[in-house]
């Protein structure tokens, strides 16, 4: 027995050792609630003396203005040092460990830091809300509006404790390096002024440092001289000193600014890159000095600062050092970036406004403005001022630092960062923006944020600014704007800091800005969803997997596409309303050796373009352009589309330019054709040839196709049935309603219903019929079931007379439970669709409930009543409602139906279909669409399916109920959710070992939550489901775009104890061969019956049900329905050898015990398999054990 080499589980178990344990179903048997016993009681030692606590708390206020290097280095580290010693005393052994190790030390550090702060914050939060009654009992810990909910707030506090920066070994080591570097740089000798050529040669020969001139490099005959002098100032800037960066980052980035003396510059140096040339030289000199002094300790390299090719920086990282014992000690994980900058008064601010041109073309003056050049230079001038701005905000606003960390976490999880390739909005921009918004930005220059906001309010309000204001249309201006700022906003976002005369968002690319706004809107919408605790989706989830975020991915080599912004505009224009989002991901800039020349910016690597499609329009084959009369527009249309544009006359008589694409079924999808055409026409043929387009690889797995239209025949037939039955005359009772109650009628069955007779035996779709009330029904359950049969017989007779083209007959079911429904009416239309109709009678529920409450009845009768009630509710109350709701959602979300079908296929492929009811799968998938956070509702099958798996892998069903609002109109109220949760918790309390209810799945239609999951699946199955989803998710995460869809759908069979391979007969493919020569039996004649009688015949399912009945307590059966022709089994560990007794529920071997006293009973596996083989007969091809 071997699974495919690509098989999922084997792959996962090799690569993700954590999941191995839960992967094998055999092991899952033993999987218990072990998590509950894991020792997690962490000591939080709060024994730090109060006086010291205060000292640390106020360290920020001790810092004097601007956080000068000296003050940082001395007084602060003093305080911190003391704190560190404190920890030493308390918990000496923990300090031995790795810095990144989470030990008690960390708990202490954070606990100590946050305890006093928290109370202060809490007081602050209460102040503005005094009108609301807030309990004082918990120190104002109740959130009352300043947070989304208590839970959210507690989680945020917890998160902040985990990410707040603290002083560890890494930080200490970085500080020592800072001191050393400062001394070195200050002590370096000045170099006299020399020409460009001389300077280059000098540095290269003396220190092997190439000057990292930006492109274009300075002319050889430049008149100006390059010079190096002792820096005016050296300072630590950025998030390290402001304590606004998260400590969970892998490397600690420390920015060190070196202010170049103004004497080096001339008035006009801001023009034509001259400042940047001088800066590059200055940096090279520093690099030479540092290299000379520290080459043994540190690794040096150059990098473009935030991918800005104009501004190289020196990156210093520690080398691995030899420890005392001669072993190599890993280097502490920090990096110091040396950023040369200038004073704010060196160049006039108004020359560097975004509307000015500072790079004069050779020929004539008056050229285009150069906003990004200007802002880049301006940013260098404002290094110290920006630090001051953020620092003062951090001192006046208590929650500022926390909000910064929330913001930077939020950005990071969305793949956004300060560098241009990551979008240009990062930690610094977020902090500076918040600092600015505390000063102004609102109406009449009033501040948007208040200093008394909580961290969550600051965070949310900042998001609101991004979401609500389109900064690319109208700049957000804080303070006084110099006159022409507004006019200069050219489609790029602008946050104008009037006091510093600078555009904060100058690095942001148009696609990144759209992404930022979209994410902000999504997050706000999610935080506004009161039914959903958005914490994980806001801060914990990483949203950078293109498979989960986008529907299609286009990959281009950066070399072939130099001008990405142009490509963006072209794609945007060309794809129009077919796509909802275009998401560019650029490769990030590389670092280079000091001796090497600076590489051209991002010349290598892959440009990844994620496309989110509009499912309604993406496959449109004809595009209408401007009409022929409209000359100018038609011309530009022709120019854009070239020979592809055709003038056509349409049905409505209009003559207009148009585009016609081949329908996607044959080869490339319409979208791919357009994209390739556009690249070929507007970029280059080479680029088109090298481009790879990843289309939806998951849809082809569904046959026949993903469209809802394959379900149309049965939906129409259902309507026909309604008319037919309602049109019958002289029924004893008039029909109140006929309801659909089947997956086929909600577009959700894996196989769309077969419509061609003779080719496939159609499975009948369940429907319920309800009559108007009558007092003539018997008041007894068994009699009611017989009366129902009488009604159905009546309908059957009447239909036979009145309706043409339909065959009717009555079928019997539930032989062993005579209070359950006993008969159904089967209606088979000649066109193909078939239905099973059952009568829904209200009174049954009352009778069953009464029987349940009746104390005089035997337990077995009560159990039967309980089963009856659950079945009644499921079949007549919940499923029809569920069917209507899902059908409604399917027409609302075009990708939902196919996603449900694909997900069901996934469950089938992993042989879980017999245990996980399909309604639950539907709820899981619907959740991905109606509660799509942190994304928007999926627009393709691929994203829908992968996100469902992603959610499934994280769903902790032990502690979380699945609650879905299927109404689409927020019918589910918070009150309902609360009561569902209460019910869930009651179940968990009642049945903590989860013997009965494992998955809890509720919706607005079914607030019970246990309708479909009572008794099935068991905990073993649910664990296996999670393990499989985890393995799949790990694979999706690891392989990303190279994921092979089919590999998610294969799992090996060797995990099972035995496997029954079913023969073709089981699927009704072939008529039974008569080679056995026993045609004398009547049974065999049945095989030749006409097709209508074989409707709904599924021997494999009958066989499985019987196996479950006969061996259910000894064997756990797995089946994938029609998707996989096997039934697999695991022996229940409860069948382990035990002392012999009469009442064992499985076949046994009596074995003499070792001590020759008693007799042990062992399960007789061979005899059972032999029995199963006899039972299955020709259904089983072979039994593999």
């Amino acid at each position: 027995m071997h699974g495919g080499p690509q098989s999922l589980v084997s792959l996962a178990s090799r690569k993700v050792p954590v999941t191995i344990h839960t992967l094998s179903p055999r092991e899952i048997w033993d999987f218990d609630l072990t998590y509950a016993h894991t020792p997690t009681d962490r000591r939080v030692n709060m024994a730090v003396p109060a006086s010291k606590r205060r000292k640390i708390e106020h360290e920020s206020s001790e810092e004097d203005d601007g956080a000068s290097f000296a003050s940082f280095g001395e007084s602060d580290s003093e305080a911190d040092h003391e704190a560190e010693q404190d920890v030493d005393v308390d918990n000496a052994n923990d300090l031995e460990g790795d810095v990144s190790d989470d030990g008690d030390e960390e708990e202490q550090a954070t606990g100590r830091g946050s305890a006093p702060k928290q109370s202060r914050k809490a007081q602050n939060e209460d102040r503005p809300k005094s009108q609301k009654p807030v309990s004082a009992s918990d120190g104002g810990a109740l959130t009352a509006g300043s947070f989304k909910s208590n839970m959210f707030r507690l989680q945020v506090d917890e998160l902040l404790q985990q990410i707040r920066p603290r002083r560890g070994k890494r930080e200490e080591s970085a500080e020592q390096a800072l001191h050393a570097l400062k001394r070195t740089i200050e002590g370096s000798a000045p170099r006299p002024a020399c020409s460009v050529v001389e300077a280059e040669r000098e540095l290269l020969t003396s220190s092997k440092v190439t000057i990292p001139f930006p492109n274009p490099r300075p002319p050889k005959d430049a008149k100006y001289k390059l010079e190096y002098a002792k820096p005016a100032n050296i300072n630590v800037v950025g998030s390290f000193v402001l304590k606004t960066s998260s400590r969970t980052k892998e490397t600690l980035d420390v920015d060190m600014s070196v202010t170049m003396p103004s004497s080096l510059f001339q008035d006009k140096d801001y023009l034509n890159y001259r400042y940047f040339y001088k800066r590059a030289y200055y940096l090279a000199c520093i690099a030479a000095a540092v290299q000379q002094a520290h080459s043994g300790e540190y690794d040096l390299c150059m990098q473009s600062f935030r991918d800005d090719g104009l501004k190289p920086v020196l990156v210093i990282a520690p080398k691995e050092s030899l420890g005392r014992g001669g072993d190599i000690k890993p280097a502490p994980n920090w990096r110091i970036n040396v950023l040369p900058c200038v004073g704010a008064d060196v160049f006039p601010a108004d020359k560097l406004l975004p509307s000015r041109n500072c790079v004069r073309p050779a020929e004539h003056a008056g050229a285009e403005p150069t906003p990004s050049y200007n802002s880049s230079l301006r940013a260098d001038m404002l290094m110290a001022q920006s630090l001051k701005l953020v620092h003062s905000a951090a001192t006046t606003c208590d929650a500022f630092r926390d909000a910064c960390m929330l913001g930077s976490t939020w950005l990071r999880q969305r793949g956004l960062g300060s560098s241009i390739s990551a979008g240009g909005v990062g930690n610094f921009e977020w902090a500076a923006l918040m600092a600015l918004l505390l000063q102004g930005g609102g109406n009449n220059g009033k501040p948007i944020l208040s200093e008394r906001y909580s961290s969550y309010q600051l965070f949310k309000a900042s998001l609101q600014v991004f979401a609500m204001k389109d900064m690319s249309k109208q700049a957000v201006i804080i303070g006084q704007a110099a006159g022409d700022v507004r006019a200069a906003a050219t489609g790029l976002p602008m946050v104008w800091d009037g006091a510093r005369s600078h555009n904060l968002l100058y690095k942001v690319q148009p696609w990144a800005y759209l992404q930022l706004r979209r994410e902000a809107r999504n997050t706000l919408e999610m935080l506004g969803d009161q039914l959903y605790d958005g914490f994980d989706a806001t801060f914990i989830l990483r949203l950078n997997n293109p498979l989960l975020c986008t529907d299609r991915v286009l990959e281009l080599s950066v070399e072939t596409v130099k001008d990405q912004r142009k490509l963006y505009d072209i794609l945007k224009q060309g794809l129009g309303d077919r796509v909802n989002q275009l998401h560019f991901r650029l490769p990030s800039g590389q670092s280079w050796q000091l001796s090497a020349a600076a590489p051209e910016y991002a010349s290598r690597g892959i440009l990844q373009i994620g496309i989110v499609i509009n499912p309604k329009t993406v496959d449109r084959t004809v595009d209408h352009g401007p009409t022929a009369e409209n000359k100018t527009e038609a011309n530009s249309f022709r120019k854009f589309w070239g020979e592809k544009a055709e003038l056509r006359r349409f049905k409505d008589g209009s003559i207009s330019e148009s585009l016609v694409w081949a329908s996607g079924e044959a080869g490339q999808s319409v979208l791919e054709q357009i994209v390739r055409f556009l690249i070929k026409r507007h970029v280059s043929e080479a680029a088109e040839a090298a481009a790879s387009f990843m289309s939806d690889a998951f849809s082809p797995m569904l046959r026949p196709g993903v469209s809802n239209a394959t379900f149309q025949p049965i939906v129409d037939a259902f309507k026909q049935l309604e008319t037919d039955v309602k049109g019958l005359e002289d029924l004893p009772l008039s029909v109140r309603q006929i309801m659909p109650a089947d997956a086929q009628l909600r577009y959700s069955s894996i196989q769309p219903p077969a419509t061609v007779p003779n080719r496939h035996r159609p499975m009948p779709a369940d429907v319920t019929i309800q009559f108007e009330g009558s007092a003539r029904w018997p008041d007894e359950l068994v009699a009611i079931q017989r009366t129902k049969i009488a009604f159905l017989l009546n309908i059957s007779d009447k239909m036979r007379e009145a309706v043409n083209g339909a065959t009717t007959r009555i079928g019997l079911e539930n032989r062993d439970h005579d209070i359950l429904n006993q008969g159904f009416l089967e209606i088979v239309y000649d066109a193909g669709p078939a239905f099973r109709m059952r009568v829904h009678h209200d009174r049954e529920q009352t009778l069953l409930e009464r029987q349940l409450k009746d104390k005089s009845l035997a337990p077995s009768a009560k159990e039967a009543a309980a089963v009856g009630l659950a079945t009644f509710k499921r079949n007549y109350l919940r499923t029809p409602g569920h069917t209507q709701a899902i059908a409604g959602l399917c027409s609302r979300y075009p990708a939902l139906s196919a996603t449900i079908r694909l997900t069901k296929k996934w469950f089938c492929s992993h042989l879980l279909a017999y245990h996980i009811p399909e309604e639950v799968v539907e709820l899981m998938v619907a959740r991905t669409f109606v509660q799509p956070w942190p994304w928007q509702a999926p627009s393709s099958v691929q994203t829908g399916f992968l996100r469902t798996l992603h959610w499934l892998s994280r769903w902790d069903w032990r502690a979380e109920p699945l609650i879905v609002d299927l109404s689409g109109s927020a019918e589910l109220k918070q009150y309902d959710v609360q009561s569902i949760k209460t019910r869930f918790e009651a179940w968990r309390k009642l049945d903590p070992s989860m013997n009965r209810i494992v998955l809890f799945a509720a919706s607005n239609i079914d607030t019970d939550g246990t309708t479909y999951t009572d008794g099935r699946p068991s905990r073993v199955i649910a664990s296996r489901m999670t393990a499989l989803a985890k393995a799949a998710s790990a694979q999706i995460e690891e392989l990303q775009l190279s994921l092979e869809p089919a590999s998610l759908f294969s799992s090996p069979l060797d995990d099972y104890d035995f496997v029954l391979h079913l023969s073709a007969v089981a699927w009704g493919g072939n008529k039974r061969s008569s080679s056995k020569g026993r045609t004398a039996f009547k049974n065999l004649e049945l095989a030749s019956l006409d097709d209508t009688s074989s409707v709904g015949f599924d021997p494999a399912a009958l066989f499985l049900d019987e196996l479950q009945d006969l061996y259910g307590s000894a064997v756990l059966f797995f089946s994938g329905g029609a998707e996989r022709p096997v039934i697999a089994g695991l022996w229940n560990p409860q069948t382990a050898p035990r002392s012999w007794k009469v009442n064992l529920a499985y076949s046994t071997v009596p074995v003499k015990a070792a001590n020759a006293e008693g007799v042990q009973a062992r399960i007789n596996k061979d005899a059972i398999l032999s029995e199963i083989a006899r039972l299955g007969g020709d259904l089983i091809e072979r039994v593999v054990a």
């Binding site: 509950a36 894991t38 997690t40 009654p133 309990s135 810990a141 109740l142 208590n150 839970m151 507690l154 989680q155 998160l159 914990i540 018997p778 007894e780 359950l781 068994v782 009699a783 017989r786 009366t787 009488a790 017989l793 059957s796 009555i810 062993d816 006993q822 008969g823 009845l857 104890d1057 035995f1058 029954l1060 049974n1083 049945l1086 095989a1087 009688s1093 709904g1096 021997p1099 009958l1102 009945d1109 307590s1113 012999w1140 009442n1143 529920a1145 076949s1147 046994t1148 009596p1150 074995v1151 003499k1152 007799v1159 007789n1164 061979d1166 005899a1167 032999s1170 083989a1173 006899r1174 039972l1175 007969g1177 259904l1179 091809e1181 072979r1182």
Partner: protein, 313 residues
């Protein structure tokens, strides 16, 4: 696959009072392996013996697909030729345990029915729905009671079984007999599928019979109740019975009325009428908030235990 335990361990030939009779199972095409099934038998000894008890043998671990024919052939053909009166298979498919030894069921081969239906068993007998299976199966490890024609036959059968067990004689199961029984495999399911759709006339007849019997029974019962209501018993008490003059709905109506009254009482004095009411209400709200907070804190604590620290991925 774990090999047959019997190859490594000695199989007992008796356990408690049971004789262990090994039955050789023939290999099939899909499972070409010889297997041995172990049938346990002993003279039946129920707690409440009946007249038939002496000629009964109690079987444990009957093969799931055994029929009366199989059992008859087993004893007649291979175990001394004792003649069997009838075989009663254990019918109740209760989830876990079965009570053993099972007493002989009077009704014959019919399955044991639940109490719910016991009320209407008279109607059941006439209005039974058509059978949908042509061959019954039995739960794995299940029991059966074999009633022989007389005590001598049952003793002979037991003796032969003991002898066969001791001698390790190979007893064949179902080789010849299977050919006479109804087919298993797809044929059985095909038959079931066709039996599940009985002829509508037959079905109509069965339903009619049932309903006639049912209404007869109903009227008999209501007559009996009326009688009970009016006639004192031997001690002079009149039994209180449901369904008096006001009909069966009375109970529910009374409950409803009671609740209505309670509601009215509550509405009579408004909720915000007295100051203490508002105060208490506010207090309760605050308590709810505090409780909610504590609850959330507990939940977070649990979550931390489950998932470890809250940390961005």
């Amino acid at each position: 696959m774990v090999p047959m335990p019997s190859k490594h361990h000695a199989v007992a030939n008796a356990v408690n009072e049971f004789t262990v009779l090994p039955l050789a199972l023939p290999p099939t095409s899909s499972f070409p392996k010889k297997a041995t099934h172990y049938l346990y038998l002993r003279p039946n000894a129920p707690k409440l013996p009946t007249a038939d008890t002496p000629r009964e043998v109690f079987l444990v671990n009957v093969p799931v697909d055994s029929t009366e024919t199989h059992i008859r052939a087993l004893f007649a053909g291979q175990l001394g030729g004792s003649r069997i009166d009838r075989v009663d298979f254990e019918g109740a498919r209760a989830g876990k345990g079965i009570t053993a030894p099972v007493t002989s069921v009077k009704k014959g081969r019919k399955r044991k029915r639940t109490d719910a239906e016991g009320n209407v068993s008279t109607a059941e007998e006439v209005g039974k729905l058509p059978e949908t299976w042509d061959r019954e199966l039995h739960r794995s490890g299940g029991t059966a009671i074999v009633t022989f024609v007389d005590k001598a036959s049952s003793d002979l059968a037991m003796k032969e079984a003991r002898k066969a067990a001791k001698a390790g004689q190979e007893i064949q199961w179902s080789l010849v007999i299977e050919a006479q029984a109804k087919l298993l495999g797809s044929a059985r399911y095909t038959a079931h599928h066709s039996l599940a759709y009985p002829d509508s006339a037959v079905l109509q007849q069965s339903v009619d019979d049932f309903m006639t019997a049912f209404s007869a029974q109903e009227s008999a019962r209501s007559r009996a109740l009326t009688k009970q209501r009016s006639v004192p018993d031997s001690d002079g008490f009149v039994t209180v019975t449901r369904g008096g003059r006001a009909g069966p709905a009375r109970e529910e109506e009374a409950r409803e009325k009671g609740e209505e009254l309670k509601k009215r009482e509550k509405q009579r004095v408004g909720e915000d009428f007295y100051r203490f009411q508002t105060r208490e209400k506010r207090k309760a709200e605050q308590m709810d908030l505090v409780k909610g907070f504590e609850e959330d804190r507990r939940r977070l604590e649990e979550m931390r235990k489950r998932r470890g620290k809250v940390r961005p991925e």
